[in-house]
Amino acid sequence: ATLPVKCQRRGLILPAAAMYTLGSLIFGKEARLADAMERGELHNKNVDYAKEAEERTELRIRALANTRPMEPRYNGHVPLHRYEKLLLFAISGWNSFFHPEDGYNIVQLGEATALPVFLENLKQTMLSDSSGRRILKEQPNITTEILHMDKLAKLPHNTFGYVYYQWLKRENVSPDTRAPVKFIDDPMHAYIFKRYRQCHDFYHAITNMPIIIEGEITIKALEGANLGVPMAILGGILAPLRLKKVQRKRLYNIYLPWAVRTGLSCKPLINVYWEEMLEKDVTALRKELKITLPPDLRTMRKERAALRKEIDAKYNSQKRATTPA
């Protein structure tokens, strides 16, 4: 009874092997390389391949540039059509909800939601304040070189610069990791958004918030309430929904109310010339900006973890006592 099965199997395997061999002889690597040689595509001494590649790249770039709605208005600008902006919003929103830890998604969502109405409003806020006007005029760029990390480390411990330095070290981040703006059309608006993005770390430092997801949501809510950044408002409303129950409770009871209250009552944070505040006393600066410190998120989490461990231990010991050995 086994014989016909065997024959059948051989009847399948041999033709398959033959077809594979034939296919690899005709379409295999060797055959494709030799075909390319016959067409004179690889080593032809009469053809300048580097120049051809360069021309192809240039043509491709020109073809791509022709599909854009306008000429780039600043360095790194990628002009988008309206439908592309809508797509960017949809895709980056979806990605941000499920992968908020990937900064690239948040960056794209931020630019997709940065409507000109909001940016114009922010610009007016800046223009109505003297240091805001100065920032717009000088357009400073926050990098490690400008901040001089080693200098910050030597500042007195009560200064904002030292607090900021300590925060960077504790969270293991660097001010250089801010992505450039690409999709905002107006150059001034693009600068304002970049400035907002670069100042984000200062908000963390002055409110002593860690970069874990709860801290980020709190800071987003603060930015949303204070500056009206659409992405921040969206984040403050939607991001808690995907958290654990404990975290959500903590946010709704303590941090989000604090963030909204502080954001609405303190001075517009975009108008702060942070680079000049580094040597100021941090409590004086908080007072000047009318910022009150929230409870420390890290200690709160630690306390809860310790409590839980304690309860677990108690439960386990009780269980051991009641169950017969």
């Binding site: 034939l22 002889l25 005709i26 690597k29 060797e30 055959a31 390389l33 030799a34 390319a36 040689m37 016959e38 004179g40 690889l42 080593h43 032809n44 001494k45 009469n46």
Partner: protein, 218 residues
């Protein structure tokens, strides 16, 4: 018998040409260049084998019925045997896989030579004309590629083909000239008088092109 002369008789002993001690060396061939050289030798060997068998077939049919054609055919056939042997040796030397369809080429080529000869001597000449036209063009294409795409860098800073490529090129040039001489001979012996001329020549040209394509790959 007539087939006994198809055996490989010419064993050219590997000639050791004296090289100067510090002769510049060439860079290694790229994968593509090596693949192309393999293909050239495989298809040329198969082609010359085919030619050998075609003239064997023609000679088999015509030599005794048309004695005036005997020396003409013998001359062509001898040249093809030489070509065949040369490429057999090259194939051994470069360890190139022979065409897997070699039995088919043998049978088909003998049948083609004998078959056209059975129609008429003119038809045999038309067959020669068609075959040599395609082969001449194919050799020219190979020569063009060998001339353009083997501009290798040498250790002394100059550029150009290696000795191996040069010798292969001159071999192919010589053989191409031989094949075109066969073409002239065929025309001189009234290939145009073959009936039906167009059907024979175009049919055989197509067969040759398909055979070249297959022998290059399979």
């Amino acid at each position: 018998s007539v087939l006994s002369s198809l055996k490989i008789t010419e064993h050219t002993s590997a000639k050791h040409t004296e090289k100067p001690e510090h002769a510049p060396k060439c860079q290694n061939l790229s994968d593509a260049q090596a693949a192309f050289l393999d293909r050239v030798i495989r298809v040329d060997q198969a082609g010359e084998l085919g030619a050998d068998y075609i003239y064997a077939g023609q000679y088999f049919v015509l030599a005794h019925r048309y004695p005036h054609l005997k020396p003409v055919l013998k001359h062509i056939w001898d040249q093809e045997i030489h070509h065949h042997n040369t490429f057999n040796n090259l194939q051994l030397k470069r360890r190139v896989r022979p065409s897997l369809l070699t039995p088919l080429w043998k049978a088909g080529a003998f049948a083609m030579g004998a078959g056209t000869a059975l129609i008429s001597p003119e038809a045999a000449m038309a067959c020669t004309e068609a075959v040599e036209t395609v082969i001449g063009g194919h050799y020219n294409g190979q020569l063009r590629n060998l001339a353009n795409q083997f501009n290798l860098e040498r250790t002394d800073g100059t550029k150009g083909p290696s000795e191996e490529i040069k010798s292969l090129t001159s071999t192919i040039q010589q053989f191409r000239d031989d094949e075109l001489e066969h073409l002239d001979t065929a025309i001189k012996h009234d290939s145009y008088m073959a009936v039906p001329y167009t059907v024979i020549t175009e049919g055989i040209k197509t067969i040759c092109r398909v055979a070249i394509w297959s022998a290059e790959r399979i």
